[in-house]
């Protein structure tokens, strides 16, 4: 973990998108990944919203962890503090969007409350601490993880749209086939493994 300081932020960015993709390698954010991937358009909207929230909360949590939690010795309270930061950020982003970008708010609005309980967001903050990333590294990690999540959900939604009219065996449609598609996607992403080593 001491080596983490030396890792180039760009490598972290690429690794977060490809080799250690949030969904396909770390299984984070699975619930909405499975539930909101019927349609390409909605999936892409959710992906954008997740990326936005992820970047903002990663930075905020890093600042709070470094300048508030560590000096006060409150490490054991970090789960509560992080989840409050995330919930508050989502609320503020939603209000700001409603005020200044009403069109975008209509498009992304329904997804924003869902994001509070998306495990990927909290997961990123916890990974960032465990791996001991610096400020720039955390920023790139947040951006990369968001983009990786977006890429994965768009790919899944596109595949699901394609196979929507195909006949499937009894009981396999819905979650069953989605898991299997995700498994095949994860297999494909293993192809990237070894090109970048971060963990």
């Amino acid at each position: 973990m001491g080596d983490a300081v030396a890792i180039n932020p760009f490598i972290i960015l690429l690794a977060a998108i490809f080799t250690s993709n949030m969904v396909l390698a770390n299984f984070l954010g699975m619930c909405s990944f499975i539930a909101v991937s019927n349609e390409y358009k909605t999936a892409s909207g959710l992906g954008k919203a997740v990326t936005l929230v992820m970047v903002v909360t990663t930075i905020l949590n890093w600042i709070i962890f470094r300048f508030v939690i560590i000096p006060l010795g409150l490490e054991y309270l970090r789960f509560i503090i992080f989840i409050v930061v995330i919930a508050a950020t989502v609320q503020i982003i939603e209000m700001a969007m409603d005020r200044y970008l009403p069109e975008l708010h209509i498009k992304l609005g329904i997804f924003l409350p869902l994001i509070t309980v998306n495990c990927a967001i909290l997961g990123i903050s916890l990974f960032m601490i465990i791996r001991d990333y610096g400020a720039v590294q955390s920023l790139f990690f947040g951006v990369g993880s968001g983009l990786g999540w977006w890429l994965a959900i768009c790919a899944l939604a596109a595949i699901r749209e394609k196979i929507a009219k195909n006949k499937l065996p009894l009981g396999l449609d819905g979650p069953g086939i989605t898991f299997i598609i995700t498994g095949i996607m994860a297999l494909a992403f293993i192809g990237f493994a070894g090109t970048l080593i971060v963990q």
Partner: protein
């Protein structure tokens, strides 16, 4: 009373199994299931958190204002998760390292919020605790089954004991992420086709499956 407990047991272990039927709590499931010991610790941690948070939420249900209930629920859940995290760190440091951030992620495990929303905030404390307990147990049984397959085929061991007597070549893929997706996919397939075929036997025209539509978090 006994009838209600039995009902809660049946509902949570099979009829509405949180993992196989509602597709909730998948996030943490897949990541920790390559070793049975880790899985067992994770499952017990979740049972502890879900039972006690259901109890607490149910006790406080008439005092929590409806509009802020989500954040209050998250607070209650987070408090219990912190207890679990500290306990695991102190008593089982090795496993704590292996589980990494996933203990903290019990907070965002949709099963707990789901039971709080769907059951605990409308029912008396004791029943809510029983309901939470069995929901957690249903989750633990599923993840143990998945990790049994993954550990046996991936490492040739069960709970760390070598059972690979015949010199079977282990499958590396079973330890890696894709295998978890395949196994859970096949398990949900089996569970929903069993239910669908039972429905066809009872009624001439089965309703289309709605599982998965409810999973929204």
């Amino acid at each position: 009373m006994m009838g209600e407990i039995k009902q809660a047991m049946r509902r949570n272990l099979w009829d509405e199994n949180q993992v196989l039927r509602q597709i909730l709590g998948i996030c943490s499931i897949l990541a920790v299931t390559n070793l049975m010991t880790n899985t067992l610790v994770m499952g017990l941690g979740l049972i502890f958190v879900i039972s006690l948070s259901s109890l607490t939420i149910s006790l406080l249900r008439s005092y929590i204002p409806h509009r802020v209930r989500m954040i209050v629920q998250v607070f209650i859940i987070a408090a219990y998760v912190i207890l679990v995290d500290i306990f695991i760190k102190a008593q089982l440091p090795e496993i704590s390292k292996a589980l990494g951030p996933y203990v903290g992620l019990i907070i965002t495990n949709c099963i707990i919020m789901g039971r709080a929303e769907a059951y605990a905030q409308k029912n008396p404390p004791f029943l809510a605790m029983i309901d939470g307990f069995f929901a957690g147990l249903g989750y633990m049984l599923v993840i143990l089954a998945i990790s049994f397959i993954r550990e046996l085929l991936g490492f040739g061991t069960i709970f760390g004991f070598d059972v690979n007597f015949i010199g079977f070549q282990t499958w590396t893929i079973m330890v890696m992420p894709p295998a978890a997706f395949f196994i859970i996919g096949v398990m949900t397939w089996a569970a929903s086709s069993m239910r669908l075929s039972r429905q066809t036997l009872q009624k001439p025209s089965p309703a289309p499956t709605a599982a998965g539509q409810q999973a929204s978090r």
